[in-house]
Amino acid sequence: MKNILAAIVITFFSISSFANEAEHEKVNSNKDYDPVPAIMEHISDAHGWHLWGGGHDAVSMPLPVILWTENGLVTFMSSEFHHDNEGHYIVSKTGLNFVNLHEKIYQLDAGSEHLAYDEKGKVTNVRPLDFSITKNVFGMFVSVLILLLVFLFAAKSYKGEIKAPRGVASFMEPLILFVKNDIALQNIGEKHHNRFLPFLLTAFFFIWFNNLLGLIPIPGLTGANITGNIAFTLVLSTITLLLTNLNGNKNYWKHIFWMPGAPVPIKIFLIPIELIGMIAKPFALMIRLFANMTAGHIIVLSLVSLIFVFKTIWMSPVSVAFTLFISVLELLVALLQAYVFTMLSALFIGSAVAEDH
């Protein structure tokens, strides 16, 4: 629980500090280079994949924008916004006008050519349901392609007669067996662990591969901060939450609603705590993975930004050395976070299916 709290605190602290810096930078924007917008652009999701250049000269890979609006499904390529994410360039489709403000797509009110703001400066326009193939979604598709290639190829080598694993299978088999024996079997137990193996194996390799791909900066293909996206970690931790509670046996629910072996007042006192714990466990999973991966990306980008902050090329050896060090560390973190997520998922599921002891 200590780790979880620390993760939450660090995450929110870092986010709020970014916000402060951003405000601060607005004042001094003429003097110093502000790395925050560039870093935020890199770690945030986007419609279209920015490759190089800036403003109207920017080159980006267009990605499909898919919107569910009051007039039904609307699709167009992100290039139609002409690199605008300040909410100025209007794209008209099916009688509706859309603008892109900070990679969020808003629908302009009928007859208006500008976004509407309330007195606090918040946008009041409608946001259509945005199912776009964004940078993260596209990066995720790439990871799925790689995962399928690796594991279907690995599985193919097991066909036919029994033999020792070769090639990619010999590398992946120990990991698969590690997830099976040291994660699933250890935490869930002999009787139930096979049922949850598909989820645990897929989660482990999906997270690990996406963590790794996030570290490889090939613009337009890999390097998106997918596992550092809160929606991504929310989906995975929700699956853990559902698997845990849908498979919870009598014993599991008894521990939540009527803790055995405790005096009655404590039993009653423990109910809300256990109910919070039920949500807090997968919530911690969500925050941990998100915060760790986003932090890694931020550190690397910050180190690279040092060159621009100090406005000298002589800073680059320092940046390169530190970036290399952090990247190597991130290779470890990529595997570690996949392991931690899978291991804790197995632990939570294991506690739900455990027999009374």
Binding site: T11, F12, I15, F18, A19, M40, I43, S44, D45, I66, H102, E103, K104, L129, D130, F131, S132, I133, T134, N136, V137, M140, F141, V144, L147, L148, F151, L152, A154, A155, Y158, K159, I162, A169, E173, I176, L177, K180, L197, P198, F199, L201, T202, A203, F205, F206, N229, I230, A231, F232, L234, V235, L236, I239, F290, T294
Partner: protein, 166 residues
């Protein structure tokens, strides 16, 4: 929750869920199950192979002891055969010796007998010859003695003298 970093977007939620569930389905069907089944099968086959090796080792040991027994038996048999052969050889030699000495004795006896015969024959021959010679000598002596009347008269006298009319 205004910060875009901690605001989950519906699109990413939707696509992550779809992609993850599909990936889980496909990988389970085409990767996890076949791989884990193959690994399990291989583990079983390795266990079988180890058990078979152990059995083979035991069988080998049994075979080895069998072989040793056979070898020992053969050695004993060989020794016996050698002993027998030696005995037979000794027997044959002693038999031969006995037979030879018997034969030699027989030959010697026969030779002795034949020598005896020859001797007898020669003695008889000699006796006959001596008799003949004696007769011849006697004849010649007689002739000589009886060549004159005086001598005949002397002899007759002598003979008459010898004859004692008692």
């Amino acid at each position: 929750m205004d910060n875009p970093l901690v605001t989950p977007e519906i699109g990413m939620l939707f696509w992550t869920a779809v992609v993850f569930l599909l990936l889980m389905f496909v990988l389970t069907k085409f990767a996890w199950k076949p791989i884990l089944a193959a690994v399990k099968e291989r583990e079983a086959s390795i266990e079988d192979a180890l058990a078979a090796a152990k059995d083979a080792k035991l069988a080998m040991a049994a075979l080895k002891s069998d072989n040793e027994d056979l070898l020992n038996q053969a050695r004993v048999e060989r020794d016996e055969m050698l002993k027998e052969a030696r005995e037979i050889k000794d027997q044959v030699i002693s038999d031969a010796k006995t037979a030879a000495s018997t034969e030699a004795e027989k030959i010697v006896v026969a030779a002795r007998e034949s020598i005896q015969h020859e001797k007898m024959a020669a003695v008889t021959e000699l006796k006959n010859q001596v008799a003949l010679l004696s007769i011849e000598i006697a004849e010649k002596i007689l002739k000589d003695e009886l060549s004159s009347a005086d001598k005949q008269k002397a002899i007759i006298d002598n003979l008459v003298k010898d004859i004692n009319l008692n």
